[in-house]
Amino acid sequence: MDAERNEAQATRGVEAGLPDSLRRELEGEIRRAVEAELTEELSQELRDRIVARLKAELAEEIQARIARVKAELEAEILARAAPVPAPVPAVREFERFSWNFRTQHMILLGSCLILIITGLPLKFHEARISQLFFDLVGGVQMSTLLHRIGAVGLIAVGAYHFFYLLAFRQGRRDFWELLPRPRDATDLFQMLRYFLGKTNDKPRFGRFSYVEKFDYWAVYWGMVIMIGSGLILWFLETSLQYLPKFAADIAREAHSDEGLLATLAIIIWHFYNVHLNPENFPMNWTMFTGKISEEEMRRHHPLEYEELMAARAVHPAVPRGVPARRAEDSSPMAQS
């Protein structure tokens, strides 16, 4: 309140010439001097005194005002210039899988789900649950149709993945990283030693461990067998124009057996690694978000992590504290 009033007085003082108290004081002084018969000297002295007092008062006022405005401006400048309080991530993240690759996985997942659900009842046609399944979907015609819808999805993602491996920089790079190497055998050996307690050092993996490589190549092999034999059976009459009947029998046998093998590999191996493993339970979200934490990166892919950090030290283009990203791969050819 006081501050406000003072401010108001000061403003009026400057604008109207003087504050009330000062004016009253000066008026009194002038009146007294007039009453005591104003001499030349006295009036000169009085004039000087008034001028001096006014000067001092005004200087004080102006200084206070300058200080106040300065403080206000400073506060405003600070408020505007200060960076938006960035939510500093508790953990730094890396992009492990691009949007492109994640989408491929999603389509693969959906297709395989349909194919397994509609395929297994054919293999285990004597089981009670198969009877229930066929009753549920409305007979073998409908399950065949669903199976073929799944097949279209699988073939599409298989063909697109092949294109992706050739045309995208990230595809080519990952394919190179996925190729089996002697190191995978030594890694496996080291891992077994670790499991048995012979050593406390886990093998140090690069971008893809032998576990992930196995998963990838199992799908690759499975796709070749399933799509190849599946097409023979789908277009049986055309196939038998060129192939003997026993080739179709082989296709059927391979389709049925590889279908079961793939299903078991998914349920046992893939589900363990990405869902049931105590480290990931109930689920490792990397394939859906694409993100992997720095901690996980350091623990599961130390070689890749180190490589990445070394590359970043050479090219410190990425400022510290901003989440790092892997080399972008969203546009084909244009970049390379």
Partner: protein, 357 residues
């Protein structure tokens, strides 16, 4: 309740006594009645012309009647509408259900299998006024009825094709060529005749889902003999054909509602089934393209390259067997490896946790 049932029992007893007395009377009168009827009906030339122009014989062979199961019956037991000589009014067909029903007091077999006839294709046709549809005596005979086991019966297995063939003439001539009849005629009496596949009193049109020859029920019908080592095994016929069919796409599809899929008869034929080494057989090597081509447009000689009833677990399946074996061991070894890896991983995790405590 109890009193009433007692009363009913007594009532039945009285009825039975009356029935027995009646039978005695009839039997006493029979000695006279039969010769009386035979005065006219004993002449082989006795016949009448129906309004349709068809001439039917009215001759009754006394010897034949004496040998039949109805030897002890009087003519009027069956021909109940004959009350005077010369006959008056319209003489109708004999109705067998006068005596043949469960609970009859006159000694006819105590069975009501005949009830099924009313629902059969023959019974339905007869009831709807088709005068050509067979009634009991068309199959079982009239004055010459014998138990089906009796070789002289029209219903004896050896005579069934002829009996059915009296109406189903074209089918009969086809069937006589088939391996089923050839085998039967050659003394293999397990072989199928009409009724083994089609049923007896339960015969339905093959388009009816209740029929034993309905598209999806054919495998089950054939398998009654062809899946049984006791029946076909002794003639050197493999019983696994039923199982291999069941595992084929044809077999699975037909089981789960496929309507355009092959059953046994689609390939092997129906009444004219022949062994695969018979050049006239639909499943003879040379005829496979034509037979498969009934459904698979453009079927060629490739369809005959390889076994049809393949069992991938048998060595004679050839390459299919080896592919099956390869996948079997691939699956086992991969699964053992993966499960071992997972188990070791878990072993290490829990051991580490244990040692940390």
């Amino acid at each position: 309740m109890r009193g009433r049932s007692m009363a009913m029992e007594t009532g039945r007893g009285v009825l039975f006594a009356l029935g027995a007395a009646l039978a005695l009377l009839i039997m006493a009168g029979r000695a006279e009645a039969l010769p009386k009827c035979l005065v006219c009906h004993g002449k082989p030339t006795l016949s009448k012309t129906l309004p349709s122009g068809r001439v039917i014989s009215l001759f009754v062979d006394e010897k034949q009647l004496k040998l039949s199961v109805h030897a002890g019956r009087a003519c009027t037991d069956c021909h109940g509408d004959i009350t005077a000589i010369p006959h008056k009014g319209e003489i109708r067909r004999v109705s067998c259900v006068r005596c043949h029903y469960r609970g009859n007091p006159v000694g006819a077999p105590q069975t009501d299998i005949y009830v099924e006839y009313a629902k059969s294709v023959h019974g339905v046709a007869a009831a709807s006024g088709n005068t050509k549809a067979p009634v009991c005596q068309d199959c079982h005979g009239n004055h010459n009825i014998h138990p089906p086991k009796d070789p002289t019966s029209q219903m004896h297995k050896a005579h069934i094709p002829e009996t059915c063939g009296r109406c189903h003439l074209a089918v009969f001539s086809e069937f006589r060529e088939s391996i089923h009849w050839q085998a039967f005629a050659g003394g293999k009496t397990d072989s199928a005749v009409c009724t083994d596949c089609h049923g007896e009193h339960t015969i339905r049109a093959h388009a009816s889902p209740e029929s034993s020859t309905y598209i999806s029920r054919v495998p089950e019908t054939c398998s009654r003999c062809h899946a049984s080592v006791a029946v076909v095994g002794k003639y050197g016929i493999k019983t696994e054909q039923v199982a291999t069919y069941g595992r084929s796409f044809h077999g699975i599809a037909i089981k789960y509602g496929g309507k355009t899929v092959a059953n046994c008869a689609s390939c092997h034929g129906v009444h004219d089934i022949r062994p695969s080494n018979d050049p006239k057989s639909a499943v003879h090597m040379d005829n496979i393209p034509k037979t498969c081509g009934k459904c698979h447009t453009g079927a060629n000689v490739n369809y005959a390259k390889g076994k049809i009833h393949v069992d991938p677990t048998k060595k004679e399946a050839g390459l299919v067997y080896w592919v099956s074996l390869f996948f079997k061991y691939l699956t086992i070894s991969v699964m053992v490896g993966l499960v071992a890896h997972i188990s070791l991983d878990l072993f290490r995790r829990f051991r580490r946790r244990g040692s940390a405590d």
